[in-house]
């Protein structure tokens, strides 16, 4: 809600350039710090960061679907599981991890394309049920089907990368996911997506092909989730259907995106940091932690629909009142 608002264009050019340079500098410094982190942090910190980055990438993917496109999917686990299994199979057949992850993403995206005609016949709430049913069906199939290891799963024959290696991979995936979504937000597609979210019928009457718009978001999200699934497999020595296709993935992704801020680029990043930090803080009480997360979700939905990022942006705007006037002129909703 506080990204490149049209009102920002009103700002004088030199000032904008200065702001840009500052931002670019900060980003560069941040990127450098993140990239060099393994040289001055412990294995434990890197493992925690790995999870933050995984969730950040997943949150970006889901946010593209649900936050910008209004497609509230509860089927994320399906694509993560497909990614994990594909990577496990491919690396066991000799493919290195990174290409394996990319193929996994492509495979998950293909699966998304195959099921999309059926899922997109379902609108709104029914789409949500359909995705949940699809993911559970797939999980049950993987538990019972013996061809892919059944309920025992697959053992990975190649050794997992080092903690630092995994961290860098996760950093790359999270950065790529954020970059991709940021790029998409600069195209017409983002506008189409939001139009379909706000009123699909009107969007259609305006000549938008809503199916194609939704399909793009759905397959891209599936691709990213498949890649993260592959990354997760690369970390583990064994994958099994309960974990890979588990509903917990879906639940975690929704909470990350929602707590961070739906429909914002920074939301999933902040949400991932917050969610993992909370989990670490309460790691002796996993159930209590999840129950508290559920309560936070309810409070956020009710009182802060913009999530943590929305609250931050709001607070920032209050600190700099001269920008608020300009912004409010151009905020679309």
């Amino acid at each position: 809600m506080s990204r490149a608002e049209p009102g920002a264009a009103v700002q004088a050019l030199p000032e904008r350039r200065a702001v840009r340079v500052t931002w670019a500098g900060a980003l560069l410094a941040g990127a450098l710090l993140l990239a060099l982190a393994p040289s001055f942090t412990s294995d434990y910190t890197q493992q925690v960061c790995f999870r933050v980055l995984e969730y950040a990438a997943l949150g970006q993917a889901w946010n593209l679907l649900a936050g910008y496109g209004g497609l509230v999917s509860l089927g994320s686990a399906a694509f993560i599981g497909i990614g994990a299994y594909t990577t496990a199979e491919l690396t066991n057949h000799g493919l290195p991890l990174v290409p394996g992850m990319l193929v996994s993403g492509a495979f998950a995206a293909t699966f998304a394309t195959v099921v999309s005609p059926a899922l997109f016949r379902l609108r709104g709430l029914y789409f949500t049920i359909g995705t949940l049913a699809l993911a559970e069906a797939l999980r049950l199939f993987m538990v019972n089907y013996n061809g892919l290891g059944g309920n025992i799963g697959i053992f990975l024959q190649t050794a997992a990368p080092t903690t630092a290696g995994l961290y860098w991979l996760a950093l790359g995936v999270a950065a790529a996911a954020t970059g991709l979504v940021a790029l998409i937000l600069r195209t017409r597609l983002a506008i189409s997506l939001r139009a379909v979210r706000d009123d699909e019928d009107v969007a259609r009457q305006m000549g938008l092909v809503s199916f194609r718009t939704k399909l793009f978001a759905f397959t891209l999200a599936a691709f990213l989730m498949g890649v993260v699934g592959g990354l997760q497999a690369g970390k583990l020595s064994q994958i099994e259907p309960y974990g890979s296709f588990g509903l917990q993935w879906t639940v975690d992704i929704v909470t990350v995106a929602l707590i961070g801020g739906l429909g914002t680029l920074a939301g999933p990043l902040i949400g991932a940091v917050f969610t993992v930090a909370l989990a670490e803080w309460l790691n002796a009480y996993p159930s209590l932690h999840l129950a508290i997360t559920g309560a936070i979700v309810i409070v956020v939905v009710r009182f802060a629909p913009g999530g943590l990022w929305g609250l931050l942006a709001h607070g920032w705007a209050r600190l700099r009142p001269e920008r608020v006037a300009k912004k409010h002129g151009g905020t679309p909703r």
Binding site: G70, R123, L125, I129, A133, A295, R302
Partner: protein, 293 residues
């Protein structure tokens, strides 16, 4: 996959029909909330399991039989649900479909983990001798609890049907479901109707949960499968139709039972979900009646 004998198939068919009663009653609350409030109640499965856990508490602490305990469990859950709806869900009416959906999602996460905290993650069941005893029906053998739950489901479903169709409170429910704005204009307190519907739905789910506990084992995360079977029943039986849940339940029960007999028991739920997805994809508007977005 083995070719089952005719006897196996007939047994599967009969137990499928009877199991349909259980599936219908676990779906009834979901159908009511979806039909009247246009809300996907993602915490529905946890309410079902809450019923099972309450039955467990009554049985283990007070020695009360779960079937007799129904008379305590259903009102207790309704009393819990009424204020919950008024405080958490009612303020979100008119704020789009996502906000209430995600609120029930949060409730479901809370409930699942409260179950773990209070009852641990162990698998439990309400072991009663009459439930597990086999029942002989014309040369076929089915678990007695299937027949018991079918009878209970029949009573509850018909009771709710009569409540909705024949009473003043039911007329208000139907009016609010049909057109909440018009109903409000005509003096119906739609918020109160919603809260009552939610309470009624929760009570029904709790009854279903006790039967689930008697027939099968359960653990904190079991709710999800009853949420999904509930959706399948609602879609098969028709949205907003109380008697339809019985038809949908029997339909799903037969499909799952036959699927289990043909492909192996592990595939029961999978077959149910696949048929559900196919149904949803092939004719959503036809089955869902008043198509809703």
């Amino acid at each position: 996959m083995q070719v089952p004998s005719a006897h196996t198939l007939v047994t599967a068919l009969v137990s499928g029909v009877l199991l349909g009663g259980l599936l219908a009653i676990t779906a009834l609350g979901l159908s009511l909330v979806l039909g009247v409030m246009r809300l996907i109640n993602l915490v529905h499965g946890e309410v079902v399991i809450a019923g099972a856990y309450l039955g467990y508490v009554l049985l283990s602490k007070l020695g009360l039989d779960p079937l007799a305990g129904l008379l305590l469990i259903a009102p207790a859950l309704a009393l819990l649900a009424y204020p919950l709806q008024r405080v958490l869900l009612l303020p979100l009416v008119g704020k789009g479909v996502q906000a209430p959906l995600l609120t029930t999602f949060g409730l479901s996460v809370i409930a699942q983990n409260l179950f773990v905290l209070v009852f641990s993650a162990d698998t439990r069941s309400l072991g009663r001798s009459y439930a597990t005893a086999p029942l002989h029906l014309a040369g076929l053998e089915v678990p007695a609890i299937y027949a018991i739950s079918f009878a209970v489901a029949l009573v509850v479903v018909v009771g709710v049907h009569l409540l909705v169709q024949r009473t003043g409170a039911g007329r208000e429910i139907r009016a609010a479901a049909e057109d909440p704005v018009a109903a409000a204009v005509l003096g119906v307190d739609v918020g109160r109707v919603y809260a009552r519907t939610y309470a009624l739905a929760t009570a029904c789910a709790g009854v279903g949960g006790v039967l689930v506990g008697l027939a099968f084992s359960f653990e904190p995360t079991t709710g999800t499968s009853y949420l999904l079977s509930g959706f399948a029943v609602v879609v098969l039986g028709g949205l907003g139709s109380v008697l339809g849940t019985l038809i949908g339940g029997i339909g799903l029960g037969v499909i799952e039972s036959l699927g289990g007999a043909v492909f192996g028991d592990g595939y029961r739920d999978f077959i149910g979900l696949v048929v559900f997805l196919a149904f949803l994809a092939l004719r959503p508007q036809g089955v869902l009646g008043r198509a809703d977005r």
